[in-house]
Symmetry: D2
C-alpha cells in the first residue's frame, strides 16, 4: 500500500514529450537534454509518459526507457511522475509497478476506458490500483482521451479514502475544477493541465500546473507560477497572455491533413528541435509529421517570442 507522504505535487511539472531517434526508439540523449533543460529552467517536477509524452503510442520498451532516463537524469532533484495509463485496472497495475521499480516517485492514472464504467467502478479501479502499489497515485482527468469524467464527486471520494494523493485536471472545465478545490481542500493538491488558464487556476488554489507547452518554454511557466505565488496578478496575466500566444503553435497544423494529437505533439517536438533540445521532431506512428510550412509557422512564433535566435 502506498504511503502518500513525500510527494510534492506542486509548482510547474511539465509533461515531457518522448524524443525519438531515426529508428523510432527513444532518443535517450535528447531526453536527457530535455530533462536538463527543464531542471535548469527551475521546474518543480517532471511527468513522463503522459498524453503529451505519447503514452498511448509507446511500447513496453519505450515506456521503460522514458522512466529510466528521467529518473537517472533528474537524480532526485525533483519528483518524477510517470504515466501508468492503460484501459483497465490490471494493465494499469502492470505499468505502474514497472514505473515504480524504475524509480518513479508517483504514477499518474486515468479512469478505465474502452469499457464504459459507472462512477463506482471508477472508484473501485483506483482502490484496486492503490492496494497493489507502493507508490503514490495521481488521478488524471482527461475526458478528451478517455471519454469519461472524474467528476468532483469521484475525485473527492478518492481524496477522502486516500486512493489518490493529487489530481491532474485536463478537463478544461474550470467550474468543476473549483468544485474539486472546494471539496478536497488544500491537503489534496489539484494540478491543472491547462496552458490557457494556468494563472487563474493557480490564483484559485491549484497546487501546480502540468502544461504541455512547458516543454518548449519552461521559463515562462516558472515565471508565471512565481508571479502568482508573489501575488503579482498583473505579471501573471501578462505572462499568461504571452504563453497563450505561444500556444498557438499547437494549432498551426492543417486538420484536413493530420489529426489533432499529431498537430499538437508535432508542434511541441518541432519547437524543441528548432530550439536545439531534441535531435529529431519525429512522433510515433501513426501520427503524421508537420509539413515544412507548418514547421516554419512554429519557427516564426518562436522567433516572435524571442525563443529562437535569429
Amino acid at each position: 500500500m502506498a504511503t502518500e507522504t513525500g510527494l510534492a505535487a506542486r509548482g510547474v511539472i511539465p509533461p515531457l514529450v518522448t524524443p525519438l531517434d531515426e529508428h523510432g526508439d527513444v532518443d535517450r540523449r535528447s531526453l536527457e537534454r530535455l530533462v536538463s533543460f527543464q531542471l535548469e529552467a527551475g521546474v518543480d517536477g517532471v511527468f513522463v509518459g503522459g498524453s503529451t509524452g505519447e503514452i498511448a503510442l509507446l511500447d513496453g520498451e519505450q515506456r521503460r526507457a522514458v522512466v529510466e532516463v528521467a529518473v537517472g537524469t533528474v537524480a532526485g532533484a525533483v519528483p518524477v511522475l510517470a504515466g501508468a495509463v492503460a484501459t483497465g485496472t490490471r494493465p494499469v497495475i502492470e505499468h505502474a509497478r514497472q514505473a515504480a521499480r524504475l524509480g518513479a516517485d508517483a504514477v499518474v492514472v486515468t479512469g478505465p476506458f474502452y469499457v464504459q464504467p459507472h462512477p463506482d467502478e471508477i472508484v473501485t479501479h483506483f482502490q484496486r490500483v492503490r492496494d497493489a502499489l507502493d507508490v503514490p497515485v495521481v488521478a488524471y482527468d482527461i475526458p478528451s482521451a478517455v471519454g469519461t469524467r472524474l467528476t468532483p464527486e469521484v475525485v473527492s471520494t478518492l481524496a477522502e479514502a486516500r486512493l489518490a494523493v493529487a489530481v491532474k485536471d485536463s478537463s478544461g472545465d474550470i467550474a468543476a475544477f473549483r468544485e474539486i478545490l472546494r471539496r478536497t481542500g488544500p491537503a489534496f493538491p489539484a494540478l491543472t493541465g491547462s496552458e490557457l488558464f494556468a494563472d487563474t487556476a493557480l490564483e484559485l488554489g491549484a497546487a501546480g500546473v502540468v502544461p504541455g507547452l512547458g516543454n518548449v518554454d519552461p521559463h515562462g511557466f516558472v515565471r508565471l507560477h512565481r508571479a502568482v505565488a508573489d501575488g503579482d496578478v498583473r505579471a501573471a496575466r501578462a505572462e499568461q497572455e504571452r504563453l497563450a500566444r505561444l500556444f498557438t503553435i499547437t494549432t498551426v497544423a492543417d486538420r484536413a491533413r493530420i489529426g489533432v494529437t499529431a498537430g499538437a505533439v508535432g508542434a511541441l517536438k518541432a519547437a524543441l528541435a528548432l530550439r536545439g533540445v531534441l535531435d529529431h521532431p519525429a512522433a510515433n506512428p501513426p501520427l503524421l509529421p508537420l509539413d515544412e510550412s507548418e514547421t516554419r509557422a512554429v519557427a516564426d512564433l518562436l522567433t516572435e517570442q524571442g525563443l529562437l535566435g535569429s
Copy 2:
C-alpha cells in the same frame, strides 16, 4: 508481411468471454469447456480477447492465457482470432506478435484511440501493423469503445491495399455496413458484431457474425446462419426474434448501480455459469458483479428460452 490467404473469416465466430477463477486469474478449465461448448454447437471460429472478452481489462498474463487455451482446445478445428486491441501502433504490434507466436490464426485490431487520429493516420496505423506481422489482420470498428469510426472509405482503403483481410463491424450502423459491402465486394469478408440484426446483415452479404450472445446460445446463431444460407428467410427471422429476446439479459442490470459493460459482460458470464459452462461468473476489476435479483432475471430468461433445465 502477412499472407492473407488461409483465413476463413466467415460463419459464426463468437467473441468469447474470459472466464476467471476465484483469484481473478484466467480459469483455464472453464475456458476449455467454453471452447468445447462452442465447437460442439458448430461454430466456424472463435474470437478471444475481444471487447466481450474484457480485452481492455486483461493484463499480459491473462492475454497470453486466453490465446493459449483457445488455440490448444480448438486444435485446428476452426480459426482462432485474437484481439490485439491497444491504443497505438507499437503496442498493437507487441500484442499481435505474442498472439501470433501462440498460434492465433488472425489478430483483430481497432484504430488508435486515446489519441485523436486523422483517417489517414488510421490507415497508416494498419499499414504499420500489417508490415510488422506474419499473421492476417481483421479490422475492428467499435466506435462505442474507441470513439472514432472506421468509415467505409477507410475500410475500402484497407481492403484495396490488403492491409486487412476482413472487417468486424460493431458500429450498429447498417447503412455504413452496406456501404462497406458495396465498396469492398465479396472477396473481403465483412462480419457484423450485431446480435440484433445478424439475419439482415447476413442476407445483405455479411460473411459472418461475431455475436457476444453466441457465448450463451451458440446453437441459436448456428441455426440462424444456416437458415440464411438455405435462403429460409422466415426461419432466420424467427430465430433472430428469439435471440433478440434472449439478448435482453444484457440489459437487466441496474445502470444506476453498475456500468453498461459490467451489465452486459456480467450477464453473459452469469448465463454461462447458470448453464454449467463456467465455474464462476466473475469479471475483471473494476467491473462490478450482477446482484442476486439481476442474476435471477438472467436465469428466468434462460428458462423461458429452454436454455436452463427446470
Copy 3:
C-alpha cells in the same frame, strides 16, 4: 382530441423540399409542380415541413404556404402530413393547429429540444400535444437534429396510450427500429426515414418510407416499395443499390465550405431544378448554395442514372 382512424401512414411518403423564389418566399408554382410530379410517380402521401423541407428555417408565412399549396394540389388524392416541429409543447401546438386548420391530415412532431428532457417529459409532451389537437400525430425520431432519442420504450408508450398514430424513424439505428416493430406491432405504422436501407426496413415490417431522395426520384422509391410488397427481394435490392448510388448527390458538397444540411438539401434542390421541377435551387438563409462544380457533380450523377436527358 384526435381520432386516429383515417390516417393511412404507409407506402412512399417523400418529405418535400420547400421551393423558394428569387425573393426567398415560397415558390408556389414550383411546389405545385413538385407535388404533381410526386403524385404522378405514384407516391402514397406527401410530407411538407419536415427536415428536408427546411422546417427549422421557415418563418410563419412560409410554414403556412407549404401546407396550403400541398393540401390544395394534392386535393385529397393522398394524405398530407405537415411538420409541427418546434422546441416545446406550446409552440408545437401552435404550429400543429395552424397546419390542421389548413387541411393537413396529420402533423409530425419531434420530442422537445433546446431543453434537455427526461423520457417521461417526452411522453408528457406528446400527451399535451395530442390533447390539444383534432388531428393525428406522427412521432418523429431524428436525434441528429434534436439531440435526444425517442427510444423504443418511449415509442411503445406513445403507441399504447394512443398519443401518436405512427412513428417516423430517422435515427439510422436499425436495431432500435426492429425493437419498435417488435413492441408496437402492425397496428402502429413505423416509417423509416432512411434512403439507404429502405428495402430492409420494409422487409422487416416498416409500413412505409419517408425518403428525402424521393423528391428527386419518386419513381425509384415507388418501384422499391412495390418490389418488397411483391416479395421480389432481388428487384428491391437492385433498386435500393441504384438509389444508394444516386444518394451520393447529397454528399458531393465540400464540407470545408458549407454545412451538412446545406449540402444535402442543396443537392436535392439542385437536382430538382436540373430535372425541371423547380425554378430555383435556392435554400433559406443561412444555408449556403452548392457551387458550380458541385452542381455539375449532381448533374453527372443524374445523367448516369438516366434522370437527366442528355
Copy 4:
C-alpha cells in the same frame, strides 16, 4: 439596420424566469414583482426569454407577454434584453422584430440549430438577422442547447463586422472565453452565463454576468460584481463561494425522475415562490415539477443562506 450605440451590456443582467399562473399563462403580476425585486437589488439590466426563461417552451402569446411586462415594469431604468431564440434565420427575425416593437433594447440570438451549420453559415445567419433589424443583437453561445459553438473565431468575426454588439457565453469554456476577450477587446462586451466562475470571468475582463441564479439572489451577484469592480478579490471570492453553494439548489432534483432543465428551472422558480416573489413555481409543459422533498431541499438551502425567514 441596427445602431449598436446605446446598449450598455454590462454589470449584472439576470436571465429572468417566466412566472406562470394556474392556467399556464404568463403571470404578469408575479413577473412585475420579479422585475421590481431585481431592480431594487440593483441589477444593471434584465434578460427575458432566455434559456432560464424557458424560451424554448413559450408560445407566441407568452413570448409577447414577458417582453411587454418587462419593458413596462423596468420603465427605462435599465436595458431590457429579449431572447429571439429560434432554429433559423427567418424565425429569429420574426421573434426579434416583435421584441423590438414591444420595446426591447436588444435581442439575444444563438446560432441556427436543428440544422447543422458551417461556421460561415453561422456568420451569414447573424449578418441576415442584423440586416433585418433596428435593434442591437447580442450573440449567445450555449452549446448545451444548440449543439454547436460560437467559436472565438466566429465571435471575433461578428464583432469586427459589427453583426453583434456583445456576446453572452454560456459554454463553460473559460479558455475560449479568454480567447474571445483577447480577440475582440474591451469595446465588445463579453458577458458570462456562469454562476460558478462569475468572479473569475469579471476579473479577466468580462463586462458582466448573466446568472440564472440571479433570479433568486440578485443581491449576491450585485455584491460580487461590485467587489470585483473595487478590486477586492477576497470579497469577490467569498461571495462567489457562497453563491456556488446556493447554486446547488439547481441539482437537488432526482435526475432519474425529471430532466436537467426541469430540475434547474424548477428550483429557481421554487426558490422564488418560497421567497414570496412568485405566486406559483410551475414551469411550462413538458417540464415536470420538483416534488415535495426536493422543494424542501431548496428551502433548506435558502434558509442556510439567510434568504428565507425562519
